[in-house]
């Protein structure tokens, strides 16, 4: 068998469940005939109409797609990256400094339990309306898994690894970059993966207030126009985006954590 055919079979093997689910969904919705639950084909044609029926020179993307999807993606990425940097830095500080964690922990646990929409007024007060405020909302909403997992990972580094580091007089930087960070990495990645999809969710929430574009805004717009295929279309778009982002993430993770995968492989 050729390599291409092998690859095809592998991908097919991975995705076989998708058509099954789609067909089941179509059949179920067609029999139920509920206007709230349009069949996937209807959703697909609405999605096509909304986003993919543009002119060829725009890669068949409509103006709506070009306006809303990139803006939303921009918000997601900047929010996620910011949350990653802040979350890892703060998480490691919390994990490694008992003192610091004693002072800050209650505030963090407090912040974690606050519904992000409830803090919108504060963000609206602190940040300029629009992208800045939305990114702030996303960061606030998704930072917790990264923060918690990072601080957990940093707190529970194998003691002997740390002792080795001190015995050889590792500098603070080396200790951090070479010992603590790599050994917390698997947990940090779990956090990053969780918050990547949370970022999509928070993007929607942040676009619900005072916003004029974005996927979340479109979702809201469809909702209040009672455009059910449109609502479902936005949801499907989010799901597809999430799937794509997650796949890219896993590919990156596989490269970065390769030692981890093979080291812990069982035979």
């Amino acid at each position: 068998m050729t390599a291409a055919a092998m690859r095809f079979l592998r991908v097919a093997g991975r995705l076989w469940l998708v058509p099954v689910v789609l067909v089941a969904w179509e059949v179920a919705t067609r029999t139920a005939e509920d206007i709230f639950f349009p069949p996937p084909t209807v959703i697909a044609s609405r999605m096509h109409e909304l986003w993919f029926s543009g002119p060829a020179q725009h890669l068949w993307l409509t103006e709506g797609a070009l306006e809303n999807i990139p803006t939303s993606l921009g918000r997601i990425f900047s929010g996620w990256l910011l949350a990653g940097v802040i979350g890892i830095a703060l998480g490691i500080m919390l994990g490694r400094s008992e003192r610091f964690s004693q002072f800050v922990d209650p505030i963090i646990q407090f912040g974690r339990a606050i519904p992000p929409p409830a803090l919108l007024p504060l963000f609206l007060a602190l940040f300029a309306i629009g992208t800045q405020m939305q990114v702030a909302t996303i960061v606030f909403g998704i930072i917790w898994p990264i923060l918690l997992n990072a601080s957990d990972g940093a707190r529970h580094v194998d003691r002997l690894h740390l002792e080795t580091a001190s015995a050889f007089g590792f500098s603070r930087g080396q200790r951090l970059m070479r010992v603590i960070l790599p050994s917390a990495m698997p947990k940090i990645f779990a956090g990053l993966r969780l918050s990547l999809s949370l970022a999509l969710i928070l993007m929607v929430i942040s676009e619900l207030v005072g916003s004029t574009n974005g996927i979340g805004f479109q979702l809201l717009d469809a909702q209040r126009s009672y455009d059910y295929p449109g609502v479902w279309g936005s949801i499907v778009l989010l799901g597809v985006l999430g799937y794509v982002l997650n796949t890219a993430f896993l590919a990156a993770e596989r490269r970065i954590l390769s030692w981890h995968r093979t080291a812990n492989q069982t035979t």
Binding site: D158, L160, H161, E163, T164, S166, A167, F168, G169, F170, S171, Q174, R178, V179, P182, S183, M185, W259, H260, T262, A263
Partner: protein
């Protein structure tokens, strides 16, 4: 150089407490190689960890070059008993060895070369690109020895460093340790269970008794140098000393003076 007086350590507290070290006095001079022997679980590793500043003893003092040890002293290297867990699985063997050398102000190329050399010395030429978990137990142990030797510390602490290698390799590593020590005037504390080894390699052999650990013997090894695996071990003085240490470890005192 190293002065330990009345060192005492108790693990935990309450009914589950364990009194591991019971007042240890020890003095090691610059450039000496002191072997520490004693029954399993007597407190050798505990002593070593205290000297390395990794464990805060509950009593007594340790001073190194005049300053009390309350954190890990500079210019120290340790070969841990649990060598496999002390290697970083996310780094290649070469990086594991080269990493501490950053402290020595070496540049990338120098570090790499020094790591390669150290690995070759322990018989692991060509393994530097592998990961620790791709090596056998004995090879991992040798990586951790290479890491310590490449670092050229002024004080080297080794906790049963040659336990997982075959006899031939063990002898090579003993000789390597002696050579490196002589070249770089290191002070070495070496824990071992092999009495022959302790006499062969040490300038002094310190014998610890069990629970809580105390020094029950401190024998000077007066063997002609340079040592040699065959001639030294045939030396009558060697045979005598080894019997003496053996008796001490087994709890029979050779002569009153040796008792603490």
């Amino acid at each position: 150089m190293l002065e330990i007086s009345n060192l005492d350590h108790t693990y935990g507290s309450g009914p589950g407490a364990h009194h591991a070290l019971g007042g240890i006095d020890l003095r090691v001079t610059q450039g000496e190689l002191v072997c520490i022997v004693g029954p399993s679980g007597c407190g050798k590793s505990t002593l070593l960890r205290s000297i390395a500043g990794l464990l805060k003893p509950t009593g007594g003092t340790i001073t190194l070059n005049g300053t009390p040890v309350d954190r890990t002293p500079d210019d120290l290297a340790v070969v841990f008993q649990d060598y496999s867990r002390s290697l970083f699985p996310w780094m290649s063997v070469g990086d594991n060895v080269a990493l501490p050398l950053r402290r020595k102000g070496m540049d990338r190329g120098q570090r790499r070369a020094a790591a390669e050399e150290a690995l070759e010395q322990v018989g692991l030429a060509g393994a530097s690109g592998k990961y620790p978990w791709q090596l056998s137990g004995g090879m991992q142990q040798r990586v951790s020895i290479a890491r310590a030797l490449a670092y050229r510390p002024s004080l080297l602490l080794m906790d049963e460093p040659f336990g997982s290698v075959d006899a031939q390799t063990r002898e090579d590593l003993e000789d390597l340790t002696l050579r490196v020590r002589n070249h770089h005037n290191m002070t070495i504390l070496l824990i071992t269970h092999d009495i022959d080894e302790s006499v062969y390699v040490g300038d002094r052999v310190v014998v610890l008794a069990k629970a809580p650990a105390t020094v029950v013997g401190d024998l000077r090894v007066d063997l002609p140098g340079p040592r040699d695996q065959i001639t030294t071990r045939e030396n009558p003085a060697f045979v005598h000393l080894r019997a003496e240490v053996g008796r001490l470890v087994r709890g029979m005192r050779s002569h009153p003076a040796a008792a603490s």
